[in-house]
């Protein structure tokens, strides 16, 4: 038996955080007493497979021209065969949209259990228990899978392992067959003028700002800082208050500025995973139980609509 890790690629590059799940898989394999095998799907991935083998695991690359872009359906069908070949007990994928799709296909087809967005696991009374957030981290759910299971692992939960002196073996196979559907191309967001990743200071707005007008307060504060920018949670972008180029989080940008000021952001794992590497985190939220406070260096429990104007006024008094 084995623990399988599935990594997919876009134009032969692994999606962000793919190697983090190697650490999850390694810890899981250690408890279960099983070896780890890594499967990478892509168009031409020999060198990426060598990269992955540096961590000491055996790697199986599967190549097909349609893997230029992720194809969860086709990946799933290929991996189903590999699950049998390697007698996979656990299968681990990154918790991305594509990862979840492939994982669901595998779980439904192989009749295994399926737990998404796993952040950690523990062994208690001879039973493995996997932990994931509910309600944006207000409570945590622990689930115990049976004999076999598929997991998606929440980004930012683990760090990529160190490379080993003895690399694993690499085998690259050409895949035959035709996918049921075809991604025909990818497109970058048009608003790349917002260089969040290069900003020293990000002032970020979440649902808690209340109204669109209050975004002006966020923008005013961002302008106070040299190289400051406005960030946002997904909700703000969905409401079209700001373009998606401002979105921080797993489906948006991953940032690590000198200062990240989270204004009215509840602290969903999706968001936290995209900004928790920031040097200093200031969180302002009227809900004292907001999950964002768990990673903040400075915590301010206030309503933004009243607090931000005071902050701007005090700044004008003292610094201008």
């Amino acid at each position: 038996m084995s623990v399988l890790v599935i990594i997919d690629t876009i134009e032969n590059r692994p999606s962000a955080g793919s190697f983090e799940i190697l650490t999850f898989a390694e810890k899981l394999a250690a408890v279960a007493g099983l070896p780890v095998r890594v499967v990478i799907a892509g168009q031409e991935i020999a060198s990426l497979a060598e990269d992955a083998a540096r961590y000491g695991f055996d790697v199986t690359g599967i190549e097909h021209e349609s893997f230029r872009y992720p194809n969860p359906d086709f990946t799933g069908r290929a991996v189903l065969g590999l699950m049998k070949e390697y007698s996979a007990r656990y299968v681990c994928l990154p918790h991305t949209m594509r990862g979840c799709q492939t994982a669901a296909f595998l779980a439904a087809s192989a009749d295994t259990h399926y737990i998404t967005a796993v952040e950690s696991f523990a062994e208690k009374n001879d039973e493995m228990s996997f932990r994931r957030a509910l309600f944006n981290g207000k409570v945590y759910l622990e689930l115990s899978p049976g004999e076999a299971s598929v997991f998606t692992v929440q980004g930012g939960s683990y760090k990529a392992p160190d490379s080993r002196d003895t690399p694993g073996t690499v085998e690259v196979r050409a895949l035959s067959g035709t996918p049921r559907y075809r991604p025909t191309g990818v497109r970058e967001s048009e608003e790349e003028s917002v260089r969040l990743e290069e900003s020293d200071v990000i002032i970020s707005a979440g649902r808690g700002i209340g109204s669109r007008e209050n975004l002006e307060l966020i923008k005013t504060i961002a302008k106070v800082f040299p190289n400051g920018a406005v960030g946002a949670s997904r909700t703000i972008c969905d409401q079209k208050w700001l373009p998606y180029a401002h979105q921080v989080g797993i489906t948006g940008k991953t940032v690590a500025p000198k200062l990240y000021m989270a204004c009215g952001i509840s602290g969903a794992q999706q968001h936290i995973a995209g900004m928790k590497g920031s040097q200093t985190i200031v969180a302002i939220n009227k809900d004292p139980r907001a999950a964002i406070f768990s990673i903040a260096d400075y915590i301010i429990v206030e309503d933004l609509a009243t607090f931000l104007p005071i902050l701007i006024e005090k700044y004008a008094e003292s610094f201008k």
């Binding site: 669901a104 990818v186 915590i299 206030e302």
Partner: protein
């Protein structure tokens, strides 16, 4: 004629208190907890109704699995423009495995000849992202997740979808019909119910199917516990009036040479 099935989940409103019931170990459901339609599913429903408005000859069904309270969400679906509502009654309390929900919906849909099945990309409460792709896998149809737009070919045999990948990158996929589309938020602006649809929904009878003592079929993952997160914050809580907190914050930022 084209048939679209939209899967709706009823979730607690995000402003409702999230409290663990000490007796059941699961979440407390009392008068303070307000249930409503999962917002991602609102986008999915709106997208289906928009397709009907463009193509004309389209039926939009909404389906939901759960106890009697989910009828309010199905009625809301009718108010927002669905033609028919299907309630699969499942009284099971506590943790309900997504694989069970997916199986019940797939079992219903398998002989109904739906051309498209829509779900929200995830539920707001548990964010499992499971039910959509699991239904697709059970039905043996392809699935596109995080859909930001779709165009159905004139003859209705294929659908071109825009899907969101990570980091602001989108991809275009040509899918066959039938397929399942897990709709991302922001794809449209969900409408408010029209008065005529509200009146119609009042009268309309839902199709009710009893899931009985259904199980996921292969023994689902077992619920272990719910718990509150540990307070791990090492952060400094700024004290005093709002004015004092603002002054403290400015001083801190100044000391760190950020201002």
């Amino acid at each position: 004629m084209m048939k679209i099935l939209v899967c709706l989940k009823q979730v607690p409103d995000s402003e409702s208190p999230v409290v663990i019931d000490e007796n059941t170990g699961w979440l407390r459901e009392d008068d303070l907890v307000v249930f409503r339609m999962n917002r991602y599913d609102e986008y999915a429903l709106e997208e289906a109704v928009l397709i009907r408005e463009v193509r004309g000859d389209v039926t939009v069904d909404v389906i939901s699995v759960g106890p009697s309270r989910v009828t309010s969400t199905l009625k809301k679906g009718l108010e927002k423009g669905a033609n028919n509502g299907i309630h699969i009654t499942l009284e099971q309390q506590g943790y309900v495995p997504p694989s069970l929900i997916a199986r019940l919906i797939a079992d219903y849909a398998v002989k109904k000849g739906y051309d498209l099945i829509f779900t929200g990309v995830m539920a707001e409460d548990d964010m499992q992202c499971q039910v959509g792709p699991l239904i697709a896998a059970r039905l043996g149809i392809p699935c596109a997740a995080s859909v930001l737009g779709e165009t159905i070919s004139e003859d209705g045999t294929s659908v071109t979808v825009e899907c969101e990948l990570e980091g602001g990158v989108t991809e275009t996929i040509v899918m066959p019909v039938p397929s399942l589309l897990a709709i991302q938020s922001g794809i449209n602006r969900p409408r408010y119910p029209s008065l005529s649809n509200v009146m119609r929904a009042k009268e309309q009878v839902l199709e009710v199917i009893d899931a009985g003592t259904a199980s996921a079929g292969f023994g689902a993952e077992r619920f272990v516990s719910l718990s509150y997160p540990e307070i791990t914050s090492k952060g400094t809580i700024l004290q005093g009036t709002a004015e004092q907190k603002a002054e403290q914050l400015l001083n801190i930022l100044h000391e760190k040479s950020l201002l």
